[in-house]
């Protein structure tokens, strides 16, 4: 009972361009186009919709990292790439839950994505460490760091937001916070 999921799918090149430009619209269209396929895969293979959501979002992250790393070559359809990543991720997760599945029900062709997933796992580890380090950092350090380094706010804005008397004080504070974050990050 294999069923192709059809919807207005954006062209692959369009997506790649959209990812590079951080286009929200492309992300949304990508999501709408390809999530059903993954939902189908997971539902038919012992999972529920939350599993499908996690697996699919992870695969999108893999795609984004791959595209943003620059050396992205489109040597298969994006759909096949996403499907293959999700399939691997889901099988891995089933394995972790010590649920075995004898015959996975496939809905699309697959390609080898082991290299991408290895890179992803490394990134994922970094991400987890960074997340926990930031969690341990506490306020207001966390917000200062996030504002300055992630949201790219200027020192002046941060200074006003936190009510520091001058930018130097804010800079000192930011420096201290960064040192602590580095310490937390590298010790784990």
């Amino acid at each position: 009972m294999k069923k192709e999921v059809k919807s207005s799918v954006p062209a692959d090149s369009e997506i790649v361009l959209g990812i590079l430009n951080d286009s929200k619209e492309i992300l949304s269209r990508l999501y709408i186009s390809y999530f059903p396929m993954v939902l189908q895969l997971v539902l038919k293979n012992n999972g529920n919709e939350d599993d499908a959501k996690d697996v699919f979002q992870e695969s999108v992250i893999v795609l984004y990292n791959k595209v943003k790393a620059g050396n992205f070559e489109l040597n298969s359809k994006l759909k096949t790439f996403l499907y293959s990543v999700c399939r691997r991720l889901w099988l891995k997760r089933l394995n972790e839950q010590s649920k075995t599945i004898r015959n996975i029900q496939d809905f699309s062709e697959i390609i080898a994505v082991e290299d991408d997933l290895e890179k992803h796992e490394e990134k994922d580890r970094q991400f987890a460490i960074m997340e926990s380090a930031l969690m341990q950092l506490g306020e207001p350090c966390k917000t200062i760091i996030e504002d300055y380094y992630i949201h790219n706010r200027s020192m002046q804005e941060i200074c006003e937001k936190f009510g520091y008397t001058n930018a130097d004080n804010a800079k000192t504070q930011k420096y201290k916070c960064l040192q602590r974050l580095k310490k937390l990050f590298f010790q784990t």
Binding site: F35, K44, E49, Q126, F127, N152
Partner: protein, 363 residues
């Protein structure tokens, strides 16, 4: 030498491309001349890129969650994976377990049966069963024919092959008995209670109702006095007391009982079930109620069941008599309409009935 704080701020500014002019030139110069500073810059940049990767991933996740929340998941679910009925889902989920369980059960049962020697026994058991079944059918249908050969050697000089009972239909020598008693007979004789034997001929047979009408053709036969009993047309009620007289041996034997069911063997509406002691030889004997009406004619009993004898209803005897073409008869067959047994005690009834009941001997 600048402090670490100042250097860090400088690197931050450099990475954010806020430096310009001479400051930028100085910075580039410092990186080239001081490898440890260059290391510091690279290290810092890696860390910051790590941090911004983290940031973009968090943003991507939250964007995706927003998109996800805007989707109608249920609709997509229905489209990609139509809900299958519960029993099919359960079956799909557990079919392997079921198969394994069934196999285990099968093996266990087989092993048990094998180890207890069931298989080696079962063949003969089945044969026994079958044989018993055939026997029981045969026996339950077995007519109450008495094999006279079974009797002790000191019996009469020329014993018949089979024996049964018959009784008079009219005073001029017509008798009725069971068809199975005279079936396939070469010649048939009847013998009354006094031991006189008469040759009879078969004038009518009705295998469907198991009835046969005989006529005494012997010239020695003298007409009987008029019959003391009548034939009851209606069906008797269950529970009615009845009795029969027959020849299970060389002497008339009286048996008492009651009608125990309106229908006969396997729902046969032609017969009653009667709870009465009967034996081979009783076949063809009259079944009478207390007032001396013939309500039936004993024809069989069921094997392996206590007290289940069967008697053809008297209305079928009357039907048989009507079915005989009257002009083919030498003498008219008139069924008696007057009953002289009513109100008598059983022993007086027996005495009066004795001359009308014959042993049928078949050669």
């Amino acid at each position: 030498m600048k402090s670490d704080l100042e250097l860090t701020n400088l690197i931050d500014a450099y990475l954010k491309e806020e430096l310009s002019g001479s400051v930028l030139a100085d910075f580039e110069q410092l990186r080239k001349s001081d490898p440890s500073f260059d290391m510091k810059v690279v290290e810092h940049r890696n860390f910051i890129s790590n941090l911004s990767d983290y940031g973009s991933r968090v943003k991507l996740s939250s964007d995706m969650n927003m998109i996800h929340e805007s989707l109608d998941i249920q609709a997509i679910k229905d489209e990609v994976a139509p809900e299958v009925p519960r029993h099919i889902r359960l079956w799909k989920k557990y079919r392997i377990n079921t198969a394994i369980a069934a196999s285990v059960a099968f093996v266990a049962i087989s092993a048990t049966l094998l180890s207890t020697g069931y298989f080696s026994k079962s063949i003969s058991t089945n044969v026994n069963l079958l044989r018993r079944e055939i026997n029981s059918i045969k026996r339950s249908q077995n007519a109450l024919i008495k094999n006279i050969n079974d009797k002790p050697a000191k019996g009469p000089a020329d014993p018949g092959e089979f024996g049964g009972t018959g009784f008079a239909l009219s005073s001029n020598g017509y008798l009725v008995t069971n068809f199975h008693v005279v079936d396939g007979a070469d010649s048939v004789y009847v013998q009354n209670s006094e031991g006189e034997a008469f040759k009879v001929k078969l004038i009518y047979q009705d295998p469907a109702y198991d009835l046969a009408v005989l006529q005494i053709t012997d010239p020695d036969f003298e007409k009987l006095a008029s019959l003391p009993y009548t034939f009851k047309k209606a069906t008797s009620d269950v529970g009615e007391d009845v009795f029969t007289i027959g020849f299970p041996r060389d002497e008339q034997v009286l048996g008492n009982g009651y009608v125990s069911a309106r229908n006969g063997y396997a729902g046969d509406t032609v017969a009653y079930q009667v709870s009465i002691p009967v034996n081979p030889g009783n076949s063809g004997g009259p079944l009478l109620d207390n007032r001396g009406n013939v309500i039936g004619i004993i024809n069989r009993k069921q094997a392996l069941i206590d007290g289940a004898a069967f008697a053809i209803k008297s209305s079928f005897i009357l039907k048989s008599i009507e079915a005989i073409p009257q002009d083919s008869l030498d003498e008219k067959l008139v069924v008696n309409k007057r009953n002289t047994l009513a109100g008598l005690s059983r022993k007086d009834q027996f005495k009066k009935l004795e001359p009308y009941i014959y042993m049928v001997k078949v050669y």
